[in-house]
Symmetry: C2
Subunit: 174 residues, 2 copies
Amino acid sequence: MTRIYASRRVYEGRVLSLRVDEIDKPRGEGRRTVEIVEHSGGAAIVAMPTPGEIVLVRQYREAVGQALWELPAGMIEAGEDPALTAARELEEETGYTAKRLRFLRSLYPTPGYCMERVHLFAAEELSPGEQRQEDIEDIEVRVWPLEKAWALVESDQLRDAKTQIGLSWAMMMR
Amino acid sequence: MTRIYASRRVYEGRVLSLRVDEIDKPRGEGRRTVEIVEHSGGAAIVAMPTPGEIVLVRQYREAVGQALWELPAGMIEAGEDPALTAARELEEETGYTAKRLRFLRSLYPTPGYCMERVHLFAAEELSPGEQRQEDIEDIEVRVWPLEKAWALVESDQLRDAKTQIGLSWAMMMR
């Protein structure tokens, strides 16, 4: 546990907020500041219509200046059970609904400066349906052969971290 | 490519900066804002003293309120070759030096709101040495049996994303 001497809220936003805390140095004398991005967390879904296939979505990501193939995923709304986030985002982004969402594990994408925790689920017994997008989204859906998606990871062409983790889980389950 | 109508710099910091851009909605009329965390990127290292062992470091992470086991890693300094970042951080955090750093792949931890790209390397032909820490660091080093570290991932006790990715790479290489 760290003693916090001062905490300055720099920004409150839609997806994230930023605060700067003044804390003790871990060793020796004196204090230091840490920048902490606040985020409500997310849920990401490994959805496999057949054992050798996985559903990925593609959208343009401003922060990295390119369109990326990713697991279906979304932000947890205040107080929401991550499994409900997963069910909602799966259906909105891909049209698929699942009989069960099985928790696999969670991940901290960048614990050095952001509190976000992503809850990873496997969607079981999928049924296809209609995608329902918000107007701030433009999402392409594709069912990929798992091996082909994994080849993109290995050749540094699929870089989203949660997606690498979901794909490696699927590869190791074969 | 997105047209940016306005860009407001909210914060300039040590590890990260934050800007808020006003851009077109991807579909339909109107504009929206996106929050973008700027970050210089990082390098992370899979260092295996023997084929069944991996070097991990543990430090307290303010953003998530707990100490985490992670791959040795650090931030890229302006203009630095990521392989040099990897070599420096490996030596500073663990004492190990490597004959070669082999690029494996890269990852975007949170492309929805942050530009950070982490370059993942395998450290080859390791020699042990003395850890050299800065006074803002308090890092514990341990050589883990790979299988034991992987069991922590599977039981949701090792959550750092880059580390899950490095460990899965090592597990799939066996």
